[in-house]
């Protein structure tokens, strides 16, 4: 009997995630060439000019595509996601405090979590804030002639700072999605949309119970009908 699976992300949530993820990785890899001198030297002026064109072209989907996909495709779940990210309880803080041990594969008891655990909420909030910062400073740099020199001068360090911090966050994000034995089942939620029922129960207990309770209600309503 195949393992029971439950849907965690619908098609538009997944498309929104990947349009953001792919454009961000392109922007990061092309942008970091201006931070790491060895990398810039390796590419040479021709490579760097090509990277600039890619970087500037990616600015458009990075800024607009994900927002459009989420708003037009799945506004209800996107709103729920935002609301959940902004709702922090005691269990969330306890989760964050205990999570470093889990990250390094040490034994730890984590408090029960909803559809998004506190780490995912923190990652979401950092991503939203970081992306707004990167898009705002990036567009200032692209349209620099319309801004005062002081604004442009400060956009540069902010753009660099945002890129390097978000780059660090991305490394942890990719590790948890692909490498970490406890959490790497979550990548399936972003590929097929479904995760194993066991993973949902063990990692997102509160969400799993609500899901089951919802199914029960539907079934009973069908019975009554």
């Amino acid at each position: 009997m195949p393992e029971e699976r439950v849907e965690r992300f619908n098609l538009f949530e997944r498309l929104g995630h990947w349009s953001h993820g792919i454009t961000f990785v392109f922007l990061l890899l092309t942008g970091l060439a201006l931070v790491f001198r060895g990398y810039a030297g390796l590419l040479g002026p021709g490579g760097l000019r090509l990277f600039r064109s890619i970087h500037h072209a990616m600015a458009y989907p990075f800024t607009f595509l994900t927002v459009i996909i989420l708003i037009l495709g799945t506004p209800r779940t996107a709103w729920q996601w935002l609301r959940e990210c902004l709702t922090w309880g005691r269990d969330d803080f306890r989760f964050i405090a205990a999570f470093p041990r889990e990250f390094f594969g040490l034994k730890v008891q984590l408090p029960e979590q909803g559809k998004f655990n506190a780490g995912e909420k923190l990652n979401s909030l950092l991503t939203i804030a970081g992306s707004i910062l990167m898009a705002a400073t990036g567009w200032i740099l692209l349209l620099r002639d319309s801004f005062s020199p002081a604004v442009v001068a400060w956009a540069l360090p902010l753009h660099s700072a945002g890129a390097l911090l978000m780059g660090g966050v991305l490394l942890g994000h990719v590790y948890l999605a692909l490498g970490h034995p406890g959490s790497r089942e979550s990548i399936n939620g972003m590929l097929s949309g479904k995760v194993s029922a066991r993973f949902a129960r063990e990692h997102h207990g509160r969400w799993y119970r609500q899901l089951k309770a919802g199914e029960k209600v539907v079934k009973e309503q069908q019975k009554i009908a």
Partner: protein, 231 residues
């Protein structure tokens, strides 16, 4: 090695823009790209009005922030103190333009590069004068070796009580009608450049390095615990 510098005697400058144009002609610049500019000032209220002229250009700073932020090494300070841009290496990121405290750099939209006054280094190497010096009919500009105490430049700086813009290679004799506050300010590295290069870049690289280290440590620990085939 010479240490090149320039004196601009603003008591002689008449603001004819000859320097701007001669430079553009020699370097074949776009009309909107001007390596040396002429600014006019008026002080006082009518009828007691006085005017003056101040020219500006790349100051060939001792510690040029433009060279510091350049990610490709296109902008460099040479051993003879001239700050140059290797236009082949420039990728037009325009970091230097923002870093320059004297607004002395221009973007060339045709070549997608940033340009500025080069002190006519290749002509100077052949023993010639920079175009602005050569053309100045009032002989307001003197170019030469600051290290050579006997050079025309060094002697003029001493005899005309020229003001050095500190941290740069440029000296002015202030115009009679204007005080030294109308001259470019002494060199100071812009705060945004300092924070960017001294804090953001090393700090950000550390954050990325720590994140990478944590991921590797996590992978190693999980692999050891799972015996290579973890759950």
């Amino acid at each position: 090695m010479a240490k090149y510098g320039m004196l601009i005697d603003l008591t002689r400058c008449i603001g004819c823009h000859g320097c701007t144009v001669a430079c553009q002609a020699r370097w074949d610049l776009l009309p909107q790209v001007q390596f040396t500019k002429v600014h006019r000032y008026e002080v006082g209220t009518f009828p007691r009005v006085k005017g003056g002229v101040v020219t500006t250009q790349c100051m060939h700073c001792d510690e040029p922030p433009c060279a510091r932020v350049c990610p490709t090494g296109a902008t460099q300070k040479r051993a003879d103190d001239i700050v140059v841009v290797d236009e082949q290496k420039c990728i037009g990121c325009r970091y230097c333009q923002q870093a320059c405290p004297y607004d002395a750099r221009s973007f060339n939209p045709q070549g997608n590069i940033v340009q500025k006054c080069y002190f006519c280094y290749d002509f100077v190497e052949k023993g010639q004068q920079p175009a602005c010096v050569e053309t100045c009919m009032a002989a307001a500009r003197i170019f030469g070796d600051l290290d050579d105490k006997g050079s025309e430049l060094s002697r003029a700086i001493a005899s005309r009580k020229a003001v050095q813009i500190k941290g740069t290679s440029i000296y002015y004799v202030p115009p009679r009608n204007l005080d030294a506050s109308f001259l470019p300010a002494d060199f100071r590295e812009p705060g945004a450049v300092r924070i960017w290069q001294d804090i953001v870049h090393p700090g950000g690289k550390t954050v990325m390095g720590l994140a990478a280290g944590a991921v590797i440590a996590g992978l190693v620990i999980n692999n050891i615990k799972g015996g290579g085939k973890n759950a």
